[in-house]
Amino acid sequence: MDYRSVLTICPYCGCGCGLVLQILDGKIIGTLPSKKNPVNVGKLCIKGWNAHEFITSSERITKPLIRKNGDLREVGWDEALEFTSSELKRIKQHNGPDSLAFMSSAKCTNEENYLFQKFARAVVGTNNVDHCARL
């Protein structure tokens, strides 16, 4: 019998609410708001309250997928990256950089998001950059 709390930060948006993950016998069974975190002081939104659910979700994508003949197929990382870069080049050449958009995530770090927008603006040449937290 082992029950413990693990303090972490909510991965959903950029607010950074403190979560107390409830761990029973090594498995996450629930989320509580951190009472002392100065950002959320014991409160959460509905996404935060259920933040533990996606961790073990069977719908979570754990491997790269490419749609082939209408179906999503598992592929290796090399093939996925090769496909993505060649498609980005092709679309940019045919339709211009503003035909591409870059969707980032509040779950990434500041540094990752900085690199991402730099890639969009300086390498590809578009200001079409947005993120998941604009929901």
């Binding site: 029950y3 709390s5 409830q22 009472k35 002392k36």
Partner: protein, 260 residues
């Protein structure tokens, strides 16, 4: 953190009375729930003014380990919760050893708590219960003002379900607040006032006035005042107050078979 409490828990372990102790732990300056598994592992045991729904965690532990006797840290409100949960058959009193602490005068006033201490306190000075001023204040308003007060407050709801999720007395397997027949999906604020009044009705004869709902509400809806009022109504009509030794909630009794 009182040494007296720690010593008391060490003795419970040494005498073999408990296999584990559910309390609060200082984790890098944050107070969080933790299950201590032996007398040597009590180092981080601590508590401040932060309260977590320990009874709710206890229900989860009891479901998986019904034969294990567990000690638990309780305040006055937690004790009321335990007493009510026994009556609703959610916990077994034989499997629980409560270790009580009394709340300070400031805490009692902040909660307007009618009994800010458990029956037996290992630590802390008992301070008297505090009068219920917020309910009286709302009751003194004109009926139309009162209605507007509640409608305004409920209109801020973002439907996070935090009040339900943190509530130690919310143990139903299915929740009416998730039934599409009652509550429309994907609408914020949820139907006003049906959503909040549905929950208030479900708290009748059950709410033990811990106030965790109001503390968890991101929209600062005075839920505690609402449920205190509901509790008063039940007491007026059925002479039952949840969380004490006497009686059972009228909503927990099927009663005699009606005459044909």
């Amino acid at each position: 953190m009182s040494e007296k409490i720690k010593q008391y828990i060490v003795e419970l372990f040494q005498q073999g009375k408990i296999k584990a102790f559910l309390g609060l732990k200082d984790e890098s300056g944050h107070i969080v729930p933790h299950l201590f598994s032996n007398a040597e592992d009590l180092d981080g045991l601590n508590f401040g003014t932060e309260r977590y729904p320990l009874n709710k965690i206890l229900i989860q532990l009891y479901k998986r380990y019904p034969d294990v006797t567990i000690g638990i840290l309780i305040r006055g409100c937690d004790e009321r919760g335990l007493k009510e949960l026994y009556k609703w058959n959610q916990l077994q009193p034989e499997k629980i050893i409560a270790v009580g602490i009394a709340c300070s005068k400031e805490q009692a006033e902040y909660c307007e708590c009618s009994k800010p201490y458990p029956d037996t306190c290992i630590s802390g000075e008992q301070t008297p219960g505090v009068d219920n001023k917020t309910v009286k204040k709302i009751d003194s308003l004109e009926i139309s003002e009162r209605l507007n007060y509640w409608l305004d407050n409920f209109s801020r709801c973002i439907k996070c379900y935090g009040c339900r999720d943190i509530c130690p007395m919310c143990f139903c397997n299915e929740c009416s607040l998730e039934e599409v027949e009652f509550i429309e999906r994907g609408k914020i604020p949820p139907e006003n006032p049906i959503f909040h009044l549905s929950r208030a009705v479900h708290m009748a004869g059950r709410c033990i006035d811990c106030g965790l709902c109001e503390e968890a509400c991101p929209s600062i809806i005075p839920l505690r005042t609402l449920y205190k009022k509901v509790t008063d109504i039940i007491e007026d009509h059925f002479s039952y107050r949840p969380g004490y030794d006497d009686g059972k909630s009228p909503l927990n009794i099927l009663g005699p078979r009606p005459e044909e």
